[in-house]
């Protein structure tokens, strides 16, 4: 009983931080959710209904695969908005002067991290719900069960990306450069780094690349995912990572960068 009371006391600051962060980020959540719905309708509904140049994919899995192509932009946008300010804003806006003496930095970062992760997952749920609803609308039931597998990988991917962004936020002065680094790395990093490394070792699978790891979210919609050839010899190109490799790499990303972020944050002074 004493241990439980102690646990409750230890957890209460984290709970309160989560609630406060959810309240503070509410408006951003509504805006990004709306944008993601609009993006989905513009890229995965309207073209198939109104454009004569777009043909509806022959099966649900392919429809879902295509629908998540543009979602990477939403992932970058939401990570940037929710996580790039997670630590540096306390220094930039000097809110840390009030809050740091009252709560341990460990509890503060855990609370804020969980809250923002919940919001990112929320946006993911909305987007994947749209995918499910319109799959049903276009193809009829039942909706492919693989949507849940894909969503699980998305959840892990968001965790890794959140830690990666938190790491940059832990030592940078302001939000905007963190956002720029994350967006630049995910959108352009693959285009620059991957070809260079590929030229060094022809068959090196780019498991280090977060943009490459995202492709598993798209491919796991296919029920025969595990039997699809992952390496395209004609294009000399890796199409998507294995489930095991992805889980290991994303977990490493999530843990290592979160720990690094915490260690830097702990030492950083106002």
């Amino acid at each position: 009983m004493k241990g439980f009371t102690k646990f409750k006391k230890a957890i209460r600051p984290i709970q309160s931080t989560i609630w406060l962060e959810l309240k503070l980020q509410k408006l951003k959540f509504i805006i990004i959710s709306s944008i993601s719905i609009v993006l989905f309708i513009l890229t995965s509904v309207i073209p198939y209904i109104s454009s004569p140049f777009f043909f509806l994919p022959s099966d649900q899995a392919t429809y879902m695969h295509y629908s998540t192509s543009f979602y990477l932009f939403m992932v970058i946008l939401s990570t940037g908005i929710f996580f790039s300010s997670i630590i540096c804003s306390e220094y930039q806006k000097k809110t840390g002067l009030t809050i740091f003496p009252l709560i341990s930095k460990k509890k503060l970062i855990i609370g804020k991290y969980i809250a923002n992760y919940i919001l990112m997952i929320g946006i993911g749920v909305i987007y994947f719900s749209c995918i499910g609803i319109f799959s049903y609308y276009f193809y009829g039931g039942p909706i492919l069960y693989t949507i849940f597998i894909s969503f699980s990988f998305l959840a892990l991917y968001l965790l890794a990306l959140a830690s990666f962004t938190t790491f940059f936020s832990s030592f940078m002065r302001s939000t905007l450069p963190v956002f720029a680094i994350i967006a630049g790395y995910l959108l352009l990093g693959g285009l620059v780094i991957d070809p260079v490394l590929r030229s060094l070792g022809a068959n090196l699978e780019p498991l280090y690349s977060l943009s490459y790891l995202y492709s598993i979210v798209q491919y796991t919609f296919y029920p025969n995912f595990s039997s699809i050839e992952r390496y395209n010899e004609l294009g000399n190109l890796w199409m998507f990572p294995s489930a095991e490799g992805t889980i290991i790499m994303l977990t490493i990303y999530a843990i290592v960068f979160f720990l690094l972020a915490y260690l830097i944050f702990r030492r950083r002074q106002l």
Binding site: A10, P13, S16, W19, K94, T95, T98, P101, L102
Partner: protein
């Protein structure tokens, strides 16, 4: 169990930024129930001391010990959840853009204040400080004074034992200042301990039991206000002359004065790097002479001035400050502008 009476102990605290020492061997001991004023000019090191106590900054040397729940003293930078409750208002407050109610509730929660009392505590404090009607308004719409009041509430919402306040009355109107002063007295009655820094010396005089005088990172006095005034009693003679003296000549006259009055001059002033016992103000045509305070010295100085300086100037009058007011104490002891005159001529 024997409870230690000391609640905060600062030992040999030092803080360096590169080669610049913001704090140097700073020592202070505060007992439970005391209200201590930390006084010093801008850049004296007040906020640095408070930031180190608030764990916003690590010291370069020394340590800060705070009483823990067992009554022992413990280094605040050691990992522990066992320290007495502390409340803080550090520097210029900046808050998340939320309402006072949500902010105060959050602070109470993270300090594990009893859940059932939070709402009534918030209402009581907001009402006391005339902020109740602003309870659910966003803080971004608040004036500077209102933000300062909310910052004070953040520091005390969880009923801490030790409260650290950095210039809490900045931007407040007189009514709000009175409210804060009254509340500090209330805290004193409840045996709470307060360390408060301020430039508003009269406000500090009203509430503080003791004053810690800090200048250039060094504690130069820590005592009750009466004792400090006694210690740094102003021992000055003003000698007004009929005709102003040109600067070059004034410097020579000051040199001559030093030679003749050396044995009667004050020699226990804190800032002794530059000679400043004798200064001349050309505008008021007055020499200001700080002496050792002895009656005999005073008479002798007047004799020497009257007899040996006839060729240098004609004395119009002698005078002395009537009393050692606190403001004078501040300007005499702490104000660097008062203390840094390289050649003694203003």
């Amino acid at each position: 169990m024997i409870m230690n009476d000391t609640i905060l102990e600062i030992e040999n605290l030092g803080k360096k930024y590169g080669k610049f020492a913001a704090l140097n061997d700073f020592n202070l001991s505060i007992r439970k129930g005391e209200i201590i004023g930390l006084v010093g000019p801008n850049g004296a090191g007040k906020t640095t001391v408070l930031k180190i106590i608030a764990r916003l900054m690590r010291p370069s040397s020394g340590e800060v010990l705070v009483q823990n729940l067992n009554g022992d003293m413990q280094n605040i930078h050691q990992k522990s959840s066992n320290l007495i409750e502390m409340g803080y208002l550090i520097d210029i407050p900046n808050f998340y853009n939320t309402t006072p109610y949500i902010l105060l509730r959050h602070v109470a929660n993270i300090r594990n204040y009893p859940n059932v009392n939070i709402k009534s505590r918030i209402d009581e404090l907001l009402s006391h400080f005339n902020l109740y009607q602003w309870k659910y308004k966003k803080l971004k719409n608040f004036s500077k004074g209102m933000i300062q009041k909310v910052a004070f509430l953040v520091a005390i919402i969880h009923e801490p034992e030790l409260i650290i306040l950095d210039e809490p009355q900045t931007g407040l109107d007189p009514g709000a200042r009175i409210k804060i002063r009254e509340y500090l007295r209330l805290l004193q009655n409840e045996k709470k301990t307060v360390l408060i820094s301020s430039h508003l010396l009269d406000e500090l005089r009203e509430v503080c039991d003791k004053m810690a005088l800090i200048n250039q990172g060094i504690l130069i006095g820590f005592d009750t206000l009466d004792n400090l005034e006694r210690k740094f009693k102003i021992k000055v003679i003003f000698c007004e002359i009929l005709e102003p003296i040109p600067q070059k000549k004034a410097e020579n006259v000051i040199e001559k004065l030093y030679r003749n009055l050396e044995s009667y001059l004050e020699n226990d002033m804190v800032n002794t790097n530059n000679r400043e016992e004798i200064t001349y103000n050309n505008k008021s045509k007055t020499f200001k002479i700080r002496y050792d305070g002895l009656e005999a010295s005073r008479s002798e100085i007047l004799n020497i001035l009257s007899s040996k300086f006839k060729s240098d100037f004609t004395i119009s009058s002698f005078s002395e400050p009537k009393s050692s007011q606190f403001e004078s104490l501040y300007s005499q002891v702490l104000d660097p502008n008062q203390n840094k005159k390289s050649n003694g001529v203003e």
